[in-house]
Symmetry: C2
Subunit: 239 residues, 2 copies
């Protein structure tokens, strides 16, 4: 029962924000009659909201719970003022991300009109091995997490990063990762780790700059300064 | 089953972000054995996360779903750049809120060190009749929603707003609500509606300024300008 309800919730995403019961049944792989019963029950509980046109959205309750008390939200809230500082100083898109399930999950993103193209959005997921965020997170991950990642992604890693371990050592030593044209041909991503007390990456703090940007070393200094402030805030905030 | 899972989820809030199974059992009013079984199942499904100290938090999955595709998040995302404009121009806390279940729910809030005291936080709820946000939302609500609110809150309203209908007429005519010292003795809240195509309030856009602030009319102009931009963005974004 609970697993089917979760499948209904997961049928929604940014491209499928509103769904009819029959679309829900299909996306959640449920018989139509089961979907009708479940959707009605979930609507009564506030997990779903029925819109005037008869379609459904995720309920406000989920947003409210997730915003009040998740790790993701704590980190985003702590980081936001320092991300604004970077955004004002570097004047390019600034984002915060974590490693989850072998992918990069964007927790927060600040942008302005005129910034370099940047496909990242809040709550979007991106591949680890194609982003400076992912590479800096991997370089500062616990050894067991790195091995688990390598075991699962050996083929893609071999194609893009034949010398991955050496590359990660280099990133760890220099304290930042910078990749050009991996996701978008016209941009460079620059990322530094936000470290916890044991020196592991809690998150990556990044800017996405145009490819012809010539102030990368300055952007790294801005990112490293803000990342230290975020680390300190997270330590203080720990209960 | 589903209703008990929702009770477990709702046991978490900003003040109870991490809970042991026994605390969860108590807050969700569930027998301890039921709570153990349910928590284990919810953890397997990703609804909860087990922390190293054996307590639980809400799972990342909830944050991810809610951030990707809820009405609340759409509105906050559309409003954020315009809220930053107000925050830069007025230089005081700026917030966006909606009416939900007879309460004000804060969707987004921008603040800076040195701003006036402001107890509002993202996803916090506040009483309608004590806030300029709530009063401007009520003044621009559908007639049926206003009557429902009055029917449920007659006593508190009578104590604080004996002439509520006249007060709401006034707010509707002047296009903004301003209240001093209702929540905090040293601050004034100023709110304008973000209107939909039928002239109903989709949200309230507000600033919280110190009580001795003498530029309230200018703040109203900034808020009205930004509120129009948010309305237009929401109209364009409607699918």
């Amino acid at each position: 029962m609970l697993d089917r309800a979760v499948r209904v919730l997961q049928a929604f995403d940014a491209h499928h924000a509103r769904l009819s019961v029959s679309a829900l049944a299909e996306r959640a792989a449920l018989p139509r009659t089961t979907a009708y019963r479940l959707v009605s029950q979930m609507t009564d509980l506030g997990l779903l909201t029925r819109l005037p046109d008869g379609t459904y959205r995720l309920g406000l309750m989920l947003w409210e719970m997730a915003t009040r008390s998740t790790d993701a939200q704590d980190l985003a809230t702590a980081a936001l003022p320092f991300m604004e500082d970077v955004n004002q100083v570097v004047r390019h898109s600034t984002q915060l991300s974590i490693l989850d399930g072998g992918e990069v999950l964007i927790l927060e993103r600040l942008s302005r009109p005129g910034h370099a193209v940047n496909p990242a959005r809040r709550a979007a997921r991106m591949p680890v091995h194609l982003t400076s965020m992912g590479m800096v997170l991997l370089a500062h991950a616990a050894a067991a997490d790195l091995e688990a990642y390598l075991a699962r992604h050996r083929e893609t890693v071999t194609a893009k990063h034949p010398e991955l371990r050496r590359e990660l050592d280099h990133i760890r030593r220099q304290g930042f990762a910078s990749f050009t044209s991996f996701i978008d041909p016209d941009t460079t991503g620059i990322s530094v780790p936000v470290l916890d007390q044991r020196g592991r990456a809690l998150a990556a703090l990044s800017v996405v700059v145009p490819i012809q940007y010539d102030a990368a070393p300055s952007a790294v200094m801005s990112l490293r300064t803000a990342a230290r402030a975020i680390s300190r805030t997270m330590d203080t905030g720990r209960r």
